[in-house]
Symmetry: C2
Subunit: 205 residues, 2 copies
């Protein structure tokens, strides 16, 4: 079990406490399972510390990860009613971000929707709106060139205060990994779908 | 995003639904972070489906993962009060399993404690007591020879009903991985401790 042993102490003029309380940028990437799931597991810890949590899912289907969403929203209700834990906001691109209610019924271009999502996150980072952000599946709009990686890295580097950001998705751009404090790659060793099994209730969603 | 595409359909005489509802044995191993965290993220999904959850932590220190524990127990209370989600039991080896209250004050041998934990889990599997089990850090007593791997694999293979089991920890024995439906290896790419930073509130616990 990890016991918090550090491998080297940097000459950065910071005390252990100052260094400890630096904001974390974590990236969960790789072809295996558990990237988002581990991010939501981290959100459970953050919730228990009373952190304000913002989840932003860059996914097309609103059906995916409904289990985590329902549970995190249950934790938000518990917080609102009892004061235990922290507040949770859950936003998804799905049928359009909640803060952009289109009245013309037109379907938004996905690249445009992804950029709208990122702009909102950048605004919130600047305003220190949340303490813990999950940018779920955010590597895809970066990979597809919809959002500029360098701008994202610069915005994350310049974010004020102590805001933690967890980014998930395959094929994280190198510049993003270089900027991260914590990068974990999930490797698929074996998956039930290899044996012709589809996802199931309580396991996949 | 995964769309549930299967790579091959096995000739096992099962319908897709039968195959889908087979119990899952998952192993999260490797030197990277996220093994336990992803298991607890899965537990959030299981909770949302109303599954009965049993967590068994094979750890010495009771301080570790207190964030996940508090949050899962908050979800259990929410279930008890409102009926939403499922019940959660959380057991840890720490200062001794809760079902073994030693009155003689003697400290239990760790190997013996680990074996006691496994015997209780085997009993519960046989009784179909839970629907979703997390055996956290369970690879260590296997690795150290405290618990017989073949017996574990045989007990898991023979478990009745539809009980999902998630096992976490480094260096999972090959026989366990061979028996698993889902194996994910978490690889460490970069960790803040490399840069002399210790764990922090809301991120590490």
């Amino acid at each position: 079990m990890p016991q918090g042993k550090v491998e080297s102490v940097p000459q950065d003029g910071l005390t252990t406490r100052q260094r400890r309380n630096q904001p974390v940028l974590a990236v969960h990437t790789g072809p295996g399972k558990g990237k988002s799931t581990a991010a939501f597991g981290m959100a459970m810890r953050a919730w228990n510390q009373g952190f304000d949590i913002g989840v932003f899912q860059f996914v097309k289907s609103a059906k995916w990860k409904v289990g985590e969403e329902q549970t995190m929203l249950a934790l938000n209700e518990l917080h609102e009613r009892t004061g235990v834990g922290g507040p949770v906001e859950w936003h998804k691109m799905g049928q359009g971000w909640s803060w952009l209610r289109r009245t013309d019924g037109a379907e938004q271009d996905h690249a445009e929707a992804a950029r709208d999502g990122w702009r909102e996150i950048a605004r919130r980072l600047s305003a220190e709106q949340h303490r813990f952000y999950v940018l779920d599946e955010f590597t895809y709009p970066l990979k597809w060139g919809w959002i500029d990686v360098d701008e994202v890295v610069e915005t994350l580097r310049a974010r004020p205060g102590n805001q933690h950001v967890i980014i998930t998705g395959r094929d994280a751009p190198q510049a993003l990994m270089d900027a991260a404090d914590l990068v974990t790659e999930m490797t698929k060793v074996r998956h039930p779908m290899d044996a012709g099994r589809k996802g199931q209730r309580g396991i996949e969603w």
